[in-house]
Symmetry: C2
Subunit: 577 residues, 2 copies
């Protein structure tokens, strides 16, 4: 075989990869999972409905690994007529864009009866997630946790005795088909607020609301062990790292542990300059580690409470038990359940966003300038009578042929070749006004980024199609972490606001909120050849077009990696059999 | 291109095809349809739920064609995460097995966003159907009617003034995922009897049964025009051909028109020696034409009534209005609604089956002997704790790679190569006894038939896993019509019962019931190279394994047709664009 001609970026990429691979050889393991995805009846909040399970469970199995490990997930689709794809949220997939699991972007869906093999390296320690990235399947319960530890012998900059995980979600009784069909109907049909909030897959619905002569016995049953509250047992005096993650379909959350402080130490896999809070705001797609000491009266249990913020809550507080050993784990606290902050206090939430900085000694300095600035105005629109979300007046639609395949195979006509706009009419557009945005269109066009260029993204929020309403949108970037350079209120000023960017100690994240009527500025290096989605992590919003896609010179992926792509699944099969 | 070497069967096939094509050239048309399949909210019985629609409708558009026409259906799947496939029920697909639409047998499923083109010739006049043949999607409303007329200038052996169509179905409020998940759960969860019976897509559910504080307004609303009863308007004194077809998911039906006689003239596309009835028994997958004269008191309307038979009914009578013009079409008859015959009178139903003979002058004489006899014992079993239906102790499962593809590509390991048994232990097996059948296994193995051989099939019914219970199963054969040689009670005697076969004027059909504790004998010519399903047409029963597959020397399909297969879709695209 001929050696490929190496151009500088390709050499760089190979060096990075080799260093990455060999420096961790000693500790790195291959971790293999065999997962079967299927529908099962579940009652996570006491109401029996279909959920998509992995090996019978929702949340699915936790992936526990060390930095540098290779994860191989052999995913069998045992749904009857429905396809599937799983995204590894927060894993950058350096050199393995085909394992990102984003249907329509990086892969075709996995058909019923098929087995697809995901193979990727977890190259950074931290708290990550996985979840369905196809249609609105995430809401059906197809999700779980990825915890990547530092290599043995390496120390983290914070200490704890035990490591625990809590995934927070909201839960609907209507299935995802009903929800999606409503969203794409004329008139628009909105499913409403979720029925329950789940902590680590457990919640509690008030079954008496359903009383009906036609309701089959057992459809809603609060005595099921399956929906007893989640219990986190702690030993008095010990310190706990809680990995708190949100995969809400809709809700912004506020999480608290009655009577206990939490010290924030990690966000999306990056060390945070520690700060102490009583309540943690967390948005869909975000992960945090908080350190909590079991330092309160050990003769009783405490509530862990989950409340909806940003939208007017119509869902009861999600509850779990913070159980001091040796109290009985099912002993309910007699204290009032946590009520959370005012749901519409966006100043409070903005302040917490601003408090999150990179930890001293663990700062990744951002490039001081960028090559390109893309300002993304988030609006609601009506397109041909359908309610949609748009970005710079373009409502995103997924192509039938995934971009990664289309670009690799040089397929013409697979998607709209005209790039969407880099900005909007920020001089004249009134973000506080209810607007119709009649020129919005639907498109599957994408942004093409120069490899290794530095890109600034400004998310600009605005009024929705409801008067005096602006929502919180958590945006998630695939394939990268970005620096969070700033948050602001009102309309972003492209001349003056960049002067206030935090270039000293910005946190790196993969998911960040844009607050109501505000803006958020990010910077990232387009250093990962591939095709990467960047979208609002609210399931319905992405479905309704609130996203964009970045291509980063896929042709520079290098012949070595292209070969891996072709033989990857074959190899993985050999390993497995 | 080299001329292929022609062996006798291939020559025969080509001659048959050429004669078939050219003899009809004058009249034959190409009829093109563009269909989009998607979920929509529908309330066919006043209860709002998701249904799978074609171009917004369920039942889908009726295909009207003349004998010899070519049908091209460009089917776009606009479901969100779910695949689809449509079977053309009763169309033999001579030379076009890849258009049979049977997922897992003749094709891969059509993915969301994909367009698949079905192209086939309707080579015989008569009443046919189309419906989803993937998972349990048929139950979600994806079905319609195909009516093939005799060529212009040709006469049918019965006369009528108008031609009308009635598809009969049963309807569940639970979705197909819930039903299928229940069927494949341990313990087995049965959805129960249907909520409504629909006549031409319309029924009526008693909404007051659902009263619940949590029920969204409009979920069940008997004042919706969508669920007003179906009206068939007739002109006094005129004669109507009613094409009555059943696509019930579960139920066996009895259909009647209050105060009117019906003359049966067609069954599954074949002329029937006319006989007069008041009540028509019809099983899922069957089609009949009955001729009805509007010869009653024209000052009022009459009920058309649909009742469940064979299973103990727990579903109200399905009702439609037989409206004498110029009475108001919505004027309900004041007479009692039809109650149908005794549900468990299987003698009565057997008698009607026996009455159906080929019409004099239109008899296709059956071969007097057969090359092979296959006796198929139908039983219920438990396999690894799952409730299944089995045939000769083999519970059928679909392979991931469709047989047609696997056989064409000579793929090894695509399915179990060991053929299922041709018979069962009929000497010792007690069909009247509740039995465990502990040796039942699951398999995707198939029967391989010699091309142009004559095959006898005997369907043998037995007791289910419930004491003193045996059900009616309508079996449907793809790719062929068969002669119905006989029905009997009890256990089929392979020596003496064949002596009683009707070899004089047997009707040809594609779907036939096997009655409780009885047997049904069929004969067909394996003259259609391809792979063909033969299965119980009850949606849940086929899903639970009640089927077999016949392969008829696919390799003999001939290079010409193989080429058509490869270029067929391309060509169809050219035609369409």
């Amino acid at each position: 075989m001929e050696a490929p001609l190496l151009n500088p970026p390709r050499v760089l990429l190979l060096i990075v990869l080799c260093v990455g691979i060999f420096s961790l050889t000693e500790a790195a393991k291959v971790r293999r999972y065999k997962w079967e995805v299927k529908y099962e009846f579940k009652a996570p909040d006491c109401f029996r409905k279909l959920a998509i399970s992995i090996n019978g469970r929702t949340p699915g199995p936790t992936i526990l690994a060390h930095q540098g490990d290779t994860i191989i997930v052999e995913l069998k689709n045992s749904l009857l007529t429905e396809n599937v794809a799983i995204h590894w949220h927060g894993i950058r997939q350096i050199g393995t864009p085909w394992s990102d699991g984003t249907e329509g972007v990086t892969q075709c869906p996995i058909l019923p009866g098929e087995t697809f093999i995901y193979k990727f390296v977890v190259d950074r320690p931290g708290t990550y997630l996985y979840h369905a990235h196809y249609g609105m399947q995430r809401e059906a319960g197809l999700y779980g946790s990825i915890q990547v530890s530092v290599p043995n012998g390496t120390k983290e900059p914070f200490s704890y005795d035990y490591d625990r995980s809590l995934i927070l979600t909201d839960w609907y009784h209507k299935n995802t088909y009903e929800q999606a069909t409503g969203l794409s109907s004329i008139p628009f049909v909105w499913v409403g607020e979720p029925q329950s909030l789940l902590i680590q897959g457990k919640g509690r619905f008030n079954c008496s609301l359903l009383a009906s002569p036609s309701l089959a016995p057992g459809t809603c049953n609060t005595s099921l062990p399956e929906c007893s509250p989640f219990v986190l047992t702690v030993v008095p005096g010990k310190t706990y790292r809680l990995r708190v993650a949100s995969l809400a379909s809709l809700s912004a959350f506020n999480f608290e542990i009655e009577g206990h402080n939490m010290t924030v130490v990690e966000a999306d896999g990056h060390n945070v300059e520690p700060f102490v809070i009583k309540n943690l705001n967390i948005y869909s797609g975000e992960t945090y580690s908080v350190v909590v000491k079991a330092d309160q009266d050990p003769s009783r249990n405490y509530w862990m409470g989950l409340n909806v913020v940003s939208r007017k809550p119509a869902t009861p507080t999600g509850l779990a038990i913070f159980n001091y050993y040796p109290n009985h784990p099912r002993r309910m606290p007699t204290t009032p359940t946590p009520v959370g902050p005012l749901w519409n206090d966006s100043e409070y939430r903005l302040a917490q966003s601003l408090a999150i900085k990179a930890r001293q000694g663990y700062i990744h300095p951002p490039p001081l300038t960028s090559h390109r600035q893309i300002i993304l105005l988030n609006t609601q629109n009506s397109i041909n009578g359908f309610r949609r979300w748009s970005v710079n007046n373009v409502s995103f639609t997924l192509p039938h042929t995934p971009y990664l395949i289309a670009l690799k195979q040089n397929l013409k006509h697979a998607f709209d070749p005209i790039a969407p706009p880099d900005t909007y009419d920020y001089v004249n557009y009134d973000i506080f006004k209810l607007q119709d945005n009649p020129n919005a269109t639907s498109s599957n066009s994408i942004y093409r980024l120069k490899l290794n260029s530095t890109v600034d993204i400004v998310l600009q929020n605005a009024n929705t199609m409801v008067a005096t309403n602006s929502e919180t949108h958590p945006w998630h970037l695939h394939g990268h972490d970005f620096w969070v350079l700033g948050y602001g209120k009102g309309k972003f000023d492209p001349i003056n606001d960049p002067k206030k960017y935090n270039l000293v100690d910005p946190i790196m994240k993969n998911t960040v909120p844009v607050h109501p009527y505000g803006w958020t500025a990010l910077r990232f290096k387009a250093d990962n050849p591939g095709v990467w989605a960047f979208h609002c992590h609210i399931e319905a919003h992405f479905y309704m077009g609130m996203g964009v896609v970045f291509e980063e010179e896929l042709r520079r992926l290098g012949s070595y990696l292209y070969q891996s792509w072709d033989v990857g699944i074959q190899k993985a099969h050999t390993i497995l059999n």
